[in-house]
Symmetry: C2
Subunit: 106 residues, 2 copies
DNA sequence: CTCCTATTTGGCAATATCGCCAAATCGCCA
DNA sequence: TGGCGATTTGGCGATATTGCCAAATAGGAG
């Protein structure tokens, strides 16, 4: 594998890795409906605010979400809605796996 | 976040995490063209065979690729071609990030 | 049966990720 | 100006990932 390919794939992996966590998937799915401030997300997730803030910064750094300070809160919104379509393939894989399981049980 | 959502997102994250590595992205992209045996992939990647084998088993366990023993080799093929479409969104994010960078430089 | 090739598995050290607490910022309002 | 609520950052222990080597396993050829 040449250096150029290596760099391209590392950039790609960095973005995919940002989504490879249940809490961050929840954030993306929640922001897909509409924007939320950190305090709202924290309440929905049920983890420490600092934990949620770090998850948000991971998603922001790779350019998937965007933040906007308004009043005393920071509102986050989904910048790349295409990731939602991206997830449908993952659901397909899950469904296919379930089918495979069924076949084995029979 | 309720237990059911938690479980659903964990299953989703497991699959996404399997792709969140440069070498495994290379494997998926390479298998998208046509099947390859472990020795071919190892030569293309340039890592230890055992390392490549472990990457392959990670992708196989989440149901993205499939293996088939033929002769003395094990051939792997892409079981879920939809992941390729999945990647186009990631490329969109990378392009958008590059655009953003440009704006800052100007 | 025995050697040889292809692949997988075990194990280990280096590194990265995760989630919480505590502390630092930051803007706003009395 | 001082304090308050919202958010981010620093840091730490616990856990997970990564890649290599060595060893185990599996099949085919001689």
């Amino acid at each position: 594998m040449d250096i150029k390919t290596q760099n391209r794939l590392e950039a790609k992996a960095r973005i995919i890795k940002a989504m490879a966590h249940p809490t961050r998937l929840f954030i993306v799915e929640t922001l897909a409906k509409h924007e939320h401030c950190v305090c709202e997300l924290t309440a929905l997730i049920g983890a420490d605010v600092s934990t949620v803030s770090k998850h948000l910064s991971i998603l922001r750094e790779v350019g998937i979400i965007d933040d906007e300070k308004r009043g005393s809160s920071v509102y986050y919104q989904l910048k790349m809605p295409c990731v939602m379509g991206f997830f449908s393939c993952v659901d397909t894989v899950i469904k296919a796996n379930a089918q495979g399981q069924l076949k084995c049980i029979r």
